[in-house]
C-alpha cells in the first residue's frame, strides 16, 4: 500500500540531568543509607538501624502492596483495606494458636509450615471477604472518590465490629514461633530473625507482583478500564471479572500483610489495620500510583527514615513521614514512579 507522507518531528538530545532525574528514585535509598552512616557515627548502631529499617519497610510494603493494586491501579480509595489487614491477622493468629504444637516446636520446618498455613488461611478469608466487599459495597461507587471513602469506612466499621462479635473485644496476644524468636547478632548489631523472614517474604512478593504486572495485560486492562470501561469491554475484555479479580488479590495481600504484621506486633486488635492506613496511603502516594516499584522504594524509605530519625532526634520521628511525603510531592507532584496519573 502507499505509505502516508512521513513527517519526522525534530528531536533534540535529552540532557544528562534529565536522564539522572529519571534514575533518581532508585538512588534515594543508597543515598539515604550513606547519609545515615555519617549522621549516626556508631557502625553497629547504624547496621542495626539499617537492617531493621529495611525490614520494617518490607512489612509496610507487604501491607501497601494490596493498596497499590486497589488504590493505585483501580483508583478505589478503600479504607476497608485496614479491616482486611485486621481480619488477616485474626484468622492467621487463630490458625497459629490452633497449631500451637507446631509453633511451639523447635523445628524450623514445623514453624514455617504453621506460618504458611496461617498465611494461606488468612489470604483465603480476606480474599473471599474482598469479593463480597467488591460486590456489595464498592461496585456501585467506582469512579466516585467521596462515596468510596464513605462506604468503605462504613465497611471498615462493620468488619471491625464483626471481629468483636467473633473473636471478642479483647486484644489477643500471640507469641512468635520458636525459631523466629530472638535475634542474630553480627558485628555488634542485633538483627531479629523475624525481620529477616519479613525481608524474604517482601522481596519474593515484590518480584512476583512485578512479573505478573509486566508479563500480563492485567495492569493495562485495569488502568484503561478506570479511564474508559466501556471501551475496554468493546475491545473484548471482561472488565468486571478483571476488576473483581484484582480487588480480591488486593484484599488477599492485605490478609498476608495482616499475618506478617500481627506476628510482628505479637498483639492483635480489631483496629490494628486501621491504624496503619495513613502510613500505607503515604507509601502508595509517594511511590506514585499503581507502581509496585514505587511502593517498594517508598516503603523502604519510610522504614529507614523512621529509624534514623527516631535514633537521631526522637521528637522528629512523628513528622518524618509527613515531611517525607511533602518533600517528595514537592519534587514530583505525581509521586516517584507514577504508573497512573492522579486526578
Amino acid at each position: 500500500m502507499s505509505a502516508a507522507p512521513d513527517h519526522r518531528p525534530t528531536f533534540a538530545d535529552v540532557s544528562l540531568a534529565e536522564r539522572l532525574d529519571k534514575a533518581m528514585p532508585f538512588l534515594l535509598i543508597p543515598i539515604l543509607v550513606v547519609l545515615g552512616f555519617f549522621a549516626i557515627g556508631a557502625p553497629s548502631s547504624w547496621l542495626t538501624l539499617t537492617v531493621s529499617g529495611l525490614a520494617m519497610g518490607m512489612m509496610i510494603f507487604i501491607m501497601a502492596s494490596g493498596l497499590t493494586l486497589v488504590f493505585g491501579l483501580m483508583d478505589v480509595i478503600n479504607f476497608g483495606h485496614g479491616a482486611f489487614v485486621s481480619v488477616g491477622a485474626f484468622v492467621g493468629v487463630s490458625v497459629l494458636i490452633a497449631f500451637g504444637d507446631w509453633t511451639g516446636a523447635t523445628s524450623l520446618l514445623l514453624n514455617m509450615s504453621a506460618v504458611f498455613l496461617a498465611v494461606v488461611a488468612a489470604m483465603t478469608v480476606t480474599g473471599a471477604l474482598g469479593w463480597v466487599f467488591e460486590r456489595v459495597i464498592v461496585k456501585p461507587v467506582y469512579g466516585a472518590h467521596l462515596k468510596q471513602i464513605l462506604v468503605t469506612v462504613g465497611g471498615l466499621i462493620v468488619i471491625e465490629q464483626l471481629i468483636h462479635v467473633i473473636w471478642g473485644p479483647d486484644e489477643i496476644f500471640i507469641n512468635r514461633p520458636e525459631m523466629l524468636k530472638g535475634a542474630i547478632t553480627f558485628a555488634g548489631a542485633a538483627m531479629e530473625k523475624y525481620r529477616l523472614l519479613a525481608v524474604g517474604v517482601g522481596a519474593v512478593l515484590f518480584i512476583v507482583m512485578r512479573m505478573i504486572l509486566r508479563r500480563t495485560k492485567i495492569g493495562l486492562i485495569v488502568r484503561a478500564g478506570v479511564e474508559n470501561g466501556p471501551m475496554v469491554e468493546a475491545l473484548g475484555y471482561r472488565l468486571r471479572m478483571v476488576f473483581v479479580g484484582v480487588f480480591i488479590a488486593g484484599s488477599a495481600l492485605a490478609g498476608l500483610g495482616g499475618v506478617m504484621w500481627g506476628l510482628y506486633q505479637e498483639v492483635i486488635t480489631a483496629g490494628m489495620g486501621e491504624r496503619m492506613m495513613v502510613l500505607v496511603f503515604i507509601v502508595a502516594i509517594i511511590g506514585g500510583l499503581g507502581s509496585v516499584e514505587g511502593a517498594f522504594i517508598g516503603a523502604l524509605l519510610v522504614g529507614l527514615l523512621q529509624n534514623y530519625v527516631a535514633f537521631l532526634e526522637p521528637k522528629l520521628a512523628l513528622v518524618s513521614n509527613i515531611a517525607l511525603m511533602t518533600a517528595i510531592l514537592m519534587w514530583r507532584p505525581q509521586g516517584m514512579l507514577p504508573v497512573v496519573k492522579a486526578k
Binding site: D170, E171, E266, Y308
Partner: protein, 371 residues
C-alpha cells in the same frame, strides 16, 4: 430507690476493660448488700450510659444521668480524658462521681472538685509502687515511656519516688504513642546503659496497644546486662510476659495475689458466673460497688449529697485488694500495691505474676496535688 449511674465506654477501643469494670461494679453491689441489692430497704437501680469513649458524649451522658434520670451517684469512666471532661458536671449538679478506673493524677489533682472520689489507683501510685519494687542500692534504671502526658507524668512520679531508694535514673526515653518499631529507642537506651556498672534495669511505662516489651527483648538486651521491668496488666497482656520469666515490677491486681475473704468470694463467684478469673478492672469495679454501699449505709441514704461526702471522706472499707481508705484531702483511695515476679506455670499460657511483697498503703507517699 437508689439510682446509680455507670457512665463508661461500653463501645469503642476499650470495650474489654469496660465490661470488666461493669461486672465488678455489679458484683460489688451484690456482695456488699448480701445479694439483696437493697440498702436500708431501698432498691438499687443501675443505669448504664455509654460514653463511646468520647469526652463530649461522656459529659452529655453524665448530665443526662444526673439531670434527667436523677441518679444519686455516678461511677466511671475508663478513659482519663473522658473522666476529666465529666468532672465539672458533678460539681454543677452537686452529685458524687466515683472515678473508676481512669488513672490520670489530675482527676484527684488540679481538676479535682469536692464531688469527685476515686477508687482506682492513680498514676503516682503505680509509679511509686514500681519505684519501691525496682529501686535499690547500685541499681541503674532507664525508662521508656510514651511521649505524652501520661508517660511523662509517670516518669516524673517514678523519678521522685526513686530518689529514696538509692537507685539512679540514667536515661529517659520517650517515643510517640503510635510507635511500632522500637529499634531506635532500644539502640539509644543500650548506648546510654552499655558502659554503666552494676544492676541495670529498663522500666517500661506503656498504656494501650503496641508491645515494646517483647520487641526490645527480641533485641537481646542481656548483651548489655539490661533487664526489662514493667508494671502489671490485664490477663490477656500477661502473655507477653511469658518471654520474660523472672521479670519484676509492681502490679495493681492479679487474682491469685490478695488473700482476703472479699477476693476469695470474687474469684469463686467470677469463675461460677463467667468461667474465667476476675481481671484487672473487675477488682476495681467491685471496690467501687462496695464503697457505694458502705457510704450510703454510713450516710443513712443517698439523697443528701453533703452527708454522703462527709461519710465518704476517711471511709475505710474492704475490697478484693484488702482495705482501702478515701483520704479526706483529695478523695483518692489509698490502697496496697503488689511487688511481683513473673513465673512460668503449667497450664497457664501467660507469665504469672507471683507476689514478692505487698507494698502497703503507708509505704507509699502519694503526693496530694489538688491545692
Amino acid at each position: 430507690e437508689i439510682r446509680i449511674a455507670h457512665v463508661y465506654g461500653k463501645t469503642g477501643p476499650f470495650e474489654a476493660y469496660a465490661a470488666q469494670s461493669h461486672n465488678g461494679l455489679k458484683l460489688g453491689l451484690e456482695y456488699a448488700t448480701g445479694g439483696t441489692m437493697e440498702i436500708n430497704g431501698e432498691k438499687i437501680v443501675i443505669i448504664e450510659k455509654d460514653t463511646q469513649l468520647k469526652p463530649d458524649i461522656g459529659r452529655a451522658q453524665l448530665e443526662e444521668a444526673y439531670g434527667d434520670d436523677d441518679a444519686h451517684i455516678a461511677v466511671g469512666p475508663v478513659s482519663s480524658g473522658v473522666a476529666l471532661a465529666m468532672l465539672p458536671v458533678a460539681e454543677e449538679y452537686e452529685r458524687v462521681l466515683i472515678v473508676e478506673p481512669a488513672v490520670a493524677d489530675s482527676i484527684t489533682g488540679a481538676n479535682w472538685n469536692p464531688y469527685i472520689f476515686r477508687t482506682g489507683r492513680n498514676s503516682s501510685q503505680d509509679a511509686i509502687a514500681n519505684a519501691v519494687a525496682l529501686g535499690g542500692e547500685n541499681v541503674t534504671i532507664a525508662t521508656l515511656a510514651q511521649d505524652y502526658a501520661f508517660g511523662r507524668d509517670g516518669v516524673v512520679a517514678f523519678k521522685e519516688a526513686l530518689e529514696g531508694t538509692g537507685a539512679t535514673l540514667a536515661h529517659e526515653e520517650y517515643v510517640p504513642t503510635d510507635t511500632t518499631d522500637f529499634t531506635a529507642a532500644a539502640e539509644r537506651i543500650f548506648n546510654a546503659m552499655g558502659e554503666v556498672e552494676g544492676e541495670k534495669k529498663l522500666f517500661i511505662i506503656w498504656a494501650g496497644g503496641g508491645n515494646p516489651m517483647s520487641k526490645i527483648n527480641a533485641m537481646e538486651p542481656s548483651r548489655f546486662g539490661v533487664e526489662i521491668a514493667t508494671g502489671g496488666n490485664i490477663l490477656a497482656a500477661l502473655k507477653a510476659y511469658k518471654e520474660l520469666p523472672g521479670m519484676e515490677g509492681a502490679t495493681y491486681y492479679y487474682y491469685e495475689i490478695p488473700q482476703n475473704p472479699v477476693n476469695d468470694w470474687l474469684v469463686k463467684t467470677h469463675f461460677e458466673r463467667f468461667d474465667s478469673p476476675p481481671d484487672f478492672f473487675t477488682a476495681g469495679g467491685m471496690a467501687s460497688g462496695i464503697a457505694i454501699v458502705e457510704a450510703i449505709k454510713k450516710a443513712g441514704g443517698a439523697e443528701d449529697t453533703d452527708a454522703l461526702i462527709a461519710a465518704m471522706e476517711g471511709l475505710t472499707w474492704e475490697t478484693p485488694k484488702g482495705a482501702m481508705t478515701f483520704r479526706p484531702e483529695d478523695h483518692q483511695a489509698m490502697q496496697s500495691m503488689y511487688h511481683f515476679r513473673t513465673e512460668l506455670q503449667d497450664g497457664k499460657d501467660y507469665g504469672v505474676p507471683v507476689l514478692v511483697r505487698e507494698i502497703g498503703m503507708d509505704e507509699m507517699k502519694i503526693p496530694v496535688r489538688n491545692q
